[in-house]
C-alpha cells in the first residue's frame, strides 16, 4: 500500500523491461556513430533520418499486425509500388485532384491486402504463397500501369514530405508516428486487435469459441495493404516520382524490423511500438554506415552482425531478467 510511488516505479520498471533492451541498442549504436562519423549526432542528421523512415515505419506497422495474427505479407513492397503507380497515373494522366488520387491509391492497396486475407483465410492457403503471388502480380501491375517507366509527379505531393517549418520534421513523419500509436492502440484496445492476438496464438481455440476468423483476417490484411498504399504516397512525395520498382525487398526489411522488435513469426506476440524501435535500429545503422562511407562488403557484414547482436542481447537480457 505504498501506492502511487510504488506503482509509478513499477510502471517505469515495466517500460524499461519492455523497451529497455532496444533502447539500449539504439543508444549504443548512436553513440558509436556519433564518435566515429563526423556530423552524425547533429539535428540535421537526425531530422534527415526521421524524414526518411515514414514509409518503412508505416509498412512495418501493417506487417506487425499481420504477423501477430499468425499471417505474413510478402507483397508489401509490390503493393506499395502498385499504389504509388496508380497514384501517379491518376494524378498525371487522369489529372485527378490530389485527394481523390491518393484515396484511390490507398484504396487499391487495401483491396490487394484484403484479397490476400480473403484468399488465405477462407481457402486456408498459406499466407506465404498467397502474398508471394500477390508480390508478383502487384509488381506486374505496377510495370503495366507505368509502362516500366518512372513517372515524375512534380511537387504537388511535396508538402507531405517537406519539413514543417518550426520542427524540421515532415508531415509524413508525424503521420507515421501517429500510425504507430494508433496501431498499438488497435492491438490492445479494440476487438479486432484482441481477435488478431487470439488467432495468432491459437486459431483453433478461436474457431471453437465461435468467433469468426475470416473477417478479422481480411480486415487486418486490408489495413496492412492500405498502409502500404499510404507508404507509397509518402515515398512518391519524397521522390516527387512514382517508380514501379520501388519497395523491392521491402518485405524483408519490414519483417526484420518486426522481429528485431520481438514480434514472433509464429503469431500471437508482438508490439507495434517495439517494431518502431526495430525500424530505428535499422535506419540508424544504415545512415551511420553511409556517413562513415564504409565499403559495401563491410556495410553488409556489419549490418548482418549488428542485427543478430541486437536480438541476441535483447534475448539474453530478457532471460537474465526472468
Amino acid at each position: 500500500m505504498k501506492d502511487k510511488a510504488v506503482s509509478s516505479n513499477r510502471a517505469i520498471r515495466q517500460t524499461l523491461a519492455t523497451y529497455g533492451g532496444l533502447m539500449a541498442a539504439i543508444v549504443v549504436l548512436a553513440a558509436f556513430f556519433g564518435m566515429f562519423a563526423k556530423n552524425f549526432l547533429t539535428t540535421t542528421t537526425l531530422l534527415t533520418m526521421a524524414n526518411s523512415i515514414p514509409d518503412v515505419t508505416v509498412v512495418a506497422v501493417g506487417m506487425t499486425l499481420v504477423l501477430i495474427a499468425g499471417g505474413i505479407d510478402l507483397s508489401v513492397g509490390s503493393v506499395l509500388a502498385l499504389s504509388a503507380c496508380l497514384l501517379g497515373w491518376l494524378m498525371v494522366d487522369q489529372k485527378l485532384p490530389l485527394w481523390l488520387a491518393s484515396s484511390g491509391a490507398i484504396a487499391l492497396g487495401a483491396c490487394c491486402g484484403g484479397l490476400n486475407g480473403w484468399l488465405s483465410a477462407s481457402f486456408r492457403i498459406p499466407a506465404f504463397i498467397v502474398t508471394l503471388g500477390m508480390l508478383e502480380i502487384a509488381r506486374g501491375g505496377a510495370y503495366w500501369i507505368t509502362d516500366s517507366n518512372t513517372k515524375y509527379v512534380g511537387s504537388s505531393l511535396g508538402w507531405f514530405s517537406d519539413p514543417i517549418a518550426p520542427w524540421g520534421v515532415s508531415a509524413s513523419f508525424l503521420i507515421a508516428v501517429s500510425i504507430v500509436l494508433l496501431g498499438q492502440w488497435l492491438l490492445h484496445q479494440t476487438v479486432l486487435g484482441r481477435t488478431a492476438v487470439a488467432i495468432g496464438t491459437n486459431a483453433e481455440s478461436v474457431r471453437m469459441a465461435g468467433i469468426r476468423t475470416t473477417r478479422p483476417m481480411v480486415t487486418l490484411y486490408a489495413i496492412c495493404g492500405g498502409l502500404c498504399g499510404l507508404a507509397g504516397l509518402m515515398q512518391s512525395s519524397r521522390l516527387s516520382t512514382v517508380d514501379p520498382n520501388s519497395g523491392v525487398g521491402m518485405e524483408l526489411s519490414a519483417i526484420a524490423a518486426c522481429v528485431i522488435g520481438g514480434t514472433s513469426l509464429r503469431g500471437g506476440h508482438g508490439s507495434v511500438i517495439r517494431t518502431f524501435f526495430g525500424v530505428l535500429v535499422i535506419s540508424i545503422l544504415q545512415t551511420g554506415l553511409a556517413q562513415l562511407g564504409a565499403s559495401d562488403p563491410i556495410k553488409r557484414i556489419v549490418t548482418g552482425g549488428v542485427i543478430i547482436l541486437a536480438v541476441l542481447l535483447d534475448s539474453l537480457r530478457k532471460r537474465s531478467a526472468v
Binding site: T44, T150, K151, G154, L239, T241, G249, A290, Q291, G293
Partner: protein
C-alpha cells in the same frame, strides 16, 4: 529550413573539401571499378579533398539512394558526385542538395532534362553516351551477320535509363543492317536469369544467330546457355561494360565484342569537375561526354 543553416558552411578554404561519391551499386564490377578509380585518385591527391563513397544494395532502390543523398547533406559534405539510379526520381533530392549549397555533378546516367527544367535545376553531366556505345557494338556484330538473320536482345532492368539507351542502340544498329530482332526480354542485369532466358530463346528460335546483352554479366549467362545448347559455333554474343570476365571470354573467342565506358575514369572526371566548381563556383556548367570504346578480340586487354 536546413538549407539556410547549411549554406554558411560551404567551402572554408582552410579545410579540405569533402566530396561524396554516390553510386548505384557497389555490388557490380562496373561500379566497383569506378569506386576504385575514384579512391585511387583521392589517395594521389589526398591533400586536396576527402572522399566518401556510398552505393545501394539494389540498383532499383531509389528511395535508399535518395536517402543517402539526404544523409550526405546532413553529413555536411561540400560536393556530391552521383551516378543516379534513376534519371527522374533523384532530381528533387539533388535540388535539395543544391539549395543546401552543395556542388552537384551528375555522372554515368544523365538526369532527365525535362525534370531538371521542371525543378529549375542545372546539373552538369559527365558520362558516356550509352546509345552510341551500344550502337557501335551492334554495328560490329552486324558485320559478321547477313541481313535477315535472327538475333535476340537481353535487356537490363526495364526502368533503368541505361538499359533503355542500350536497347535502343542495339535496335538501331540491327535495323540499319536489316537484321531481325525476334525476341527481346529483360534479364534484370543478372547472369543466372540471363542464362535461363537465353536458353529459352535458343529453344524457341532455333535459327538464332546472335544474342545482344545489355551488360556483360548477362552476356556471360548467354554464353553458358549457348554452350549448353551446343551452338557455340553458330550463335554469337556481344555485351557491354568490359568487365574482366568478359575480357577473358573475348580473349577465348566466346564473345564477339563489348563496350568500355572507362568506368574508372568516369568518377575521376566527375570529381575533377566538382573540384573545379568548388574552387570557382562560376565555372561554366557544361556537359562532358566521355568516350565509349568498342572492345573486340583485336584490342582486348590480356
Amino acid at each position: 529550413q536546413p538549407s539556410s543553416s547549411n549554406a554558411k558552411s560551404t567551402p572554408k578554404s582552410s579545410e579540405k573539401p569533402k566530396i561524396a561519391l554516390v553510386m548505384k551499386s557497389l555490388a557490380n564490377e562496373f561500379f566497383s571499378t569506378m569506386a576504385d578509380g575514384a579512391k585511387q585518385y583521392q589517395s594521389q591527391n589526398a591533400q586536396q579533398f576527402e572522399l566518401v563513397v556510398n552505393g545501394i544494395k539494389d540498383e532499383r532502390d531509389l528511395a535508399r539512394q535518395s536517402a543517402i543523398v539526404d544523409e550526405m547533406i546532413a553529413a555536411k559534405v561540400q560536393a556530391i558526385v552521383i551516378a543516379p539510379a534513376d534519371s527522374k526520381a533523384l532530381v528533387p533530392v539533388l535540388r535539395r542538395a543544391k539549395q543546401a549549397g552543395l556542388v552537384v555533378v551528375n555522372i554515368d546516367n544523365k538526369l532527365d532534362d525535362e525534370i531538371l527544367n521542371a525543378e529549375s535545376l542545372s546539373v552538369p553531366f559527365v558520362g558516356p553516351n550509352n546509345l552510341l556505345g551500344a550502337k557501335s557494338v551492334g554495328e560490329h556484330l552486324a558485320k559478321s551477320l547477313k541481313p535477315g538473320d535472327q538475333v535476340a536482345v537481353l535487356e537490363g532492368i526495364r526502368t533503368s535509363f541505361n538499359a533503355t539507351q542500350r536497347r535502343l542502340g542495339f535496335e538501331q544498329a540491327m535495323k540499319d543492317a536489316g537484321i531481325q530482332i525476334v525476341d527481346s526480354q529483360s534479364a534484370n542485369w543478372e547472369t543466372n536469369q540471363a542464362n535461363s532466358i537465353a536458353a529459352s530463346m535458343l529453344n524457341a528460335h532455333p535459327d538464332l544467330k546472335a544474342i545482344l546483352a545489355a551488360n556483360d554479366s548477362m552476356a556471360l549467362g548467354a554464353i553458358a546457355a549457348i554452350k549448353a545448347a551446343n551452338k557455340t559455333d553458330t550463335v554469337q554474343v556481344v555485351g557491354f561494360d568490359n568487365i574482366s570476365a568478359a575480357q577473358q571470354a573475348i580473349g577465348q573467342g566466346k564473345m564477339l565484342a563489348t563496350a568500355d565506358q572507362h568506368g574508372d575514369q568516369l568518377a575521376i572526371f566527375g570529381i575533377q569537375l566538382a573540384m573545379k566548381l568548388l574552387q570557382d563556383p562560376n565555372t561554366l556548367l557544361e556537359d562532358r561526354q566521355t568516350p565509349v570504346d568498342l572492345i573486340t578480340s583485336g584490342n582486348v586487354a590480356k
